[in-house]
């Protein structure tokens, strides 16, 4: 699958204060318009790597290039979806979704119109005036996703977005996510510790080994998702092979 590289990770080392080595010599190319996943056991530095790409953590050594330019901080072409949702508890859904645009100084009317569109897209229409504490975990994460979509970034970085929602919600959300992103031509970089989730969603799975995190394998499941329903995908031979292959590699680390 020939796709242009949109994010390049060049020889990233990350050592935390106190000497914990989170990542060592990580180099990667992430293709445009695809879903790439960082997968690995806890402590493999996958969230750290994602946050380095987001520009939220400065690496000890190495460079991040986005769309052919070196970056050293967050940028408008990248949007982040947080594991713990990171919603303003004192703001309603509409303001939370529009918050990225609010920070960019867009007038209220404009940003609310954009936010409403994305709120409807993630299936939260009529919840605009609700507050985060009134929503379930799955709904809160939809708010987080809508906020990331609202700023119209090319790259969406997701840090274990489904880890705090229940299994049914998770499956439904995954399916909707695939559906949504397929139409938007977004590049998604995704962190998870679920093998099935990685195989189901990703075009490219980057397996990380723990302490310090290094790239162990890259797997491209090559599942044909076009026009097929979720159950067909989950019975696809390539999907099942990918799950097996990943498990064969990961079980050495646990």
């Amino acid at each position: 699958m020939p796709a242009e590289t949109i994010v390049e990770v060049k020889e990233i080392d990350m050592t935390y204060e106190g000497g914990v080595e989170a990542l060592a010599g990580v180099s990667l190319a992430l293709p445009e318009g695809r879903i790439s996943t960082f997968l690995g056991p806890s402590g493999c530095g996958k969230t750290t790597l994602l946050k380095i790409i987001a520009g939220l953590i400065p690496p000890t050594h190495g460079e991040i290039w986005v769309k052919g330019k070196k970056v050293d901080g967050p940028g408008p072409e990248r949007a982040f979806v947080f594991q713990d949702f990171a919603l303003l508890p004192w703001a309603n859904v509409l303001r939370n979704v529009a918050f990225g645009l609010e920070l960019r100084g867009l007038p209220a009317q404009e940003r609310h119109a954009i936010a409403r569109k994305h709120i409807a897209e993630v299936g939260l229409k009529s919840f605009e005036a609700s507050y985060p504490h009134q929503l379930s975990g799955g709904m809160r994460q939809r708010v987080g996703l809508a906020r990331a979509l609202s700023v119209d970034a090319d790259i969406i970085l997701m840090d274990e977005p489904f880890s705090s929602v229940d299994e049914q919600t998770r499956r439904k959300f995954q399916e909707e996510l695939l559906d949504l992103l397929r139409h938007k031509h977004k590049t998604v970089i995704f962190v998870t510790h679920s093998i099935e989730e990685a195989a189901y969603l990703s075009d490219q799975i980057i397996l990380l080994s723990p302490r310090p995190g290094t790239i162990s394998n890259i797997i491209r499941p090559n599942i044909d998702r076009e026009g097929r329903n979720p159950d067909e995908i989950r019975r696809d031979k390539n999907y099942l092979d990918a799950v097996d292959e990943i498990w064969e590699i990961l079980k050495h680390y646990v």
């Binding site: 982040f80 990171a86 919603l87 303003l88 508890p89 004192w90």
Partner: protein
Amino acid sequence: MERKSAVISPLVWQLISFALFFGLWEIAGRWPISFAFPPFSKTLLALLRMLADGSLPKAYLSTLQPLIIGIVLCSVAGIGFGIGMGLSRAIEWFSLPVFIILQAAPMAAIIPLITYMYGIGLTSKVLAVVVLAAPVIVMNSYKGIRNTNPSLIQMCRAFLGTRRQEMIKIILPHAAALIFAGLRLGLAMGFIGIVIAELLITPTGIGDLITYHSSVADYPEMFAAIASIILFAALTIHALERLEQRLFPPETRGLEDAG
């Protein structure tokens, strides 16, 4: 029916509790133990007399003046300082130990020192209020700022918020509830401070009423003055607490998001 009684009963219980308390006071006051302990009925009558002749309202005017000046000073300087401590490691390092000690120390003990330095005028009384109220106001503001959910700050940065926006849109709203609670606790301390000052420095206002009536053995009046300041402080603090609940409902404070 059940729901209705569930709503009514706390109020009924409260009334019963008050009636019991005042009843026991009445009985205890009629017991010939001490001449200096008047029953509830006489105290209440004395209170009404003092309201009618204007001595109580006048006393409150003079008591509230240093209290309000002191609390306003603390609100401006104390909150500002607490926020500064929360934001700057240097200010925190420099002043956190001082405020931790101040918060734990029995500050009433330094009131005689204040009199020695600043005399017996308004300044001393304002200072007495400030000395008692400031530590809790500063510490609450500081904690409010310092406890900001780090994930929200990261979110703000990820969506290209400036440091200024981070302050105004994340940190301050997040800290507002704790800062307000600090003001309420500060006012409670301020009441203690002003009464101590009025008893210890020079008798003015409510302190004067208490001292004077006790010196001429008007015990019902003395008790009425004491009871009135207790009642006044309790009602004020309670009203602020209600306001706090309304302004910052616990669900929107974001405490549960921290985990």
